[in-house]
Each structure stands twice: as C-alpha cells, then as structure tokens.
Amino acid sequence: MKSYRRFPISIFTILFLFLFVLHCSKQKKEAKPIDFTLDTIDKKFHFQDGNGKLRLIYFGFLSCPDVCPTTFQTISASLNSISAKEQSEIEIIYIDLDPERDTLPNIKKYLDYFRVDMIPLTGSIEELKKVASIFKASFSKVPIESNLIYTIDHTTSVYLVDREGNYIEKIPHGIPVEAFVGYLKKHL
C-alpha cells in the first residue's frame, strides 16, 4: 500500500525535474544579446548600436607600457593585413579600466597612434565592473611600491562578439598576428 502511494509522487517528481531541466536549457539558448552603456568622447556609447558588425573588445589602462601596447600593435597589424571591406565589418572597442588617471581625450590620442579605428570607452568603476563581468573579465586596482603608486591587474584577452550581439569566444594574449587574423576570418 505504501509503495503504491509513493508511485504517483515519483512520477510527478521526475516530470517536474524534466520540465525544470528543459526550462533551464531553453533559457540558456535564448541568452539575451550583449548590451551595455559606457562613456565615449562627449556622448554615451550603446553597445547594441554596433550590431551588424563583428566586435572586438579589449580592457586595459594607459600607464601599462608592456602588455597593452603589445595587444594594440597586434590588433593594428592584424587589421591592416585584411581587406578594407573586411575592416569595415569590424568594430574595435577599447575599455579603459583606469578612469582615475586616463581621460577620454587622452585615451583617444593614445589609440590614434596605432593607425586603426578604435572606440575609446570608460566609466565609473561600478559600471566597468558590470561590463567586465559580461565577458567574465576581471580587473582590480592594486597599490604597489612604485612611483606608479598603483597598477591595474586585468585580463588580457580580446573578446569577440558576433553581429547579433552574442558572445563568441576570446582571443588569448600574446599570439602572433597570423593567428589573430585567423580568429577574425573565422567569424567574418
């Protein structure tokens, strides 16, 4: 008698779990396209306005004389090695993580040096943390015993977002230009 009564409960439990799993996987598939708003020169920048283009997103700070310039040189060399048509289908976004020291006009001047169009963005630390979390990127301000006073530890990958605004994958730091171009061509 006892086991007979338990039977319909277990059927319901299984059915419930099945529906729950189905619901979760459906939610994952219907992940919302990426969107965020940050400051660019004299206006707000809305990520979704760039839909239709393949997006490259990189986080950094200007006081960094080592890793960041290397990435910019790689991006610049890669973009300059593909056709003008391909270039026009790509939007490069640079998100500066040091709003305390770096101003947007300075960021723009810095980016202009690398002979490729890049959109300079920054915001408050809270806004930046939010945007970084979208890409599972992270950064932190770390005081150091240096005349630099503090540094910014940060993830160094370049993140790729497709034309519809969906995250694709990340390009690791320090790869050769040929390999970087390979990533771009794969998604163009």
């Binding site: 080592d66 890793v67 290397t70 040189q73 790689t74 300075n106 150091i144 530890d153 050769p176 040929e178």
Partner: protein, 151 residues
C-alpha cells in the same frame, strides 16, 4: 728588479686589472619601446649576459629620459596580467637573462618629453658588484608579434 721581471710582473697584473675594471656583463638587443605621445611611461628591453662564475644582480637603472626608473616584472596568472616592481634582476653566472614584453623590464616612469622614433638615449645599469655600465638604447617600435617572435 730586472726588466724581464717587470715585464713578467705587468703580464700577471694586467689581466687581473682588466678583470677588475669590467662588469663581466654584456648587453644586446637593447631598445626603448616607442609609446604614443600621450603616454607617461615606457619600458626598456634587452638581454644581459654574465661572463663571470658568480651571479650578478642588476639593482638600479638611471636615465635622464624619465623622472624615475624602476625594475618591473609582468606575471600572468590565470589569464590576468599583473605588473609588480622588483628589487633586482639576477643575471646567472655564465648565463643570461632576457628583459622582454610580458616579462621582466626596465620601466621609465614620467617621461620628461615624448619619445621620438630612432632617438638614442643613455641608460646606466648599476649592479650589486658596485660596478656599472652605460649603454645607448634607441627608441624602437615593437611590432605586432610575428610567428617567429612568439616561438
């Protein structure tokens, strides 16, 4: 003292003296990284080779191109790059150490004036042996890495 004795004495003394005046350190590939004019900082990369049987430490660097010069190291930890000042850089006995992007570097903080491509600047390297050498490093662009460099 006879002349032969003097000559013999000098012969023994001279290599010892020469050794005394040398740092036992040689450098190559020295360059100062060209950075955009709006940047305050730059870095110097080079390879240091120690020809002596003892480890030698690079403890200090001086240059007039920036307000201060420090030794730094970039370390990658689970995809995150961290740059930290370090007290010295050891050049192993009969070995060498390479200062390169994403690793050890000499950091120029607060450039006095914007760097110009091709310009050459004096950089004084001071070692724990109390000896120093002054090298000439020219301002160069580090291009996007090519396959060869990454290897």
């Amino acid at each position: 003292m006879t002349l032969t004795k003097i000559i013999l004495f000098l012969f023994i003394l001279f290599p010892a003296l020469a050794q005394e005046n040398e740092t036992n350190i040689s450098t190559n590939g020295e360059l100062i990284r060209m950075v955009p004019p709006s940047t305050q900082n730059s870095a110097c990369f080079l390879k240091l080779t120690n020809s002596s049987a003892k480890d030698i430490k690079l403890t200090k660097v001086e240059s007039s191109i920036s307000k201060s010069v420090e030794l730094h190291e970039s370390v990658m930890d689970s995809g995150k790059m961290m740059m930290r000042p370090i007290a010295d850089i050891t050049i192993p006995a009969n070995g060498s150490v390479e200062l390169k992007p994403g690793s050890l570097h000499i950091m120029f903080l607060g450039l006095v004036s914007p760097l110009k491509l091709g310009d050459s600047h004096k950089v004084k390297l001071i070692f724990d042996t109390k000896k120093s050498i002054t090298i000439q490093a020219s301002v160069k662009e580090i291009p996007g890495m090519t396959k060869k460099m990454a290897e």
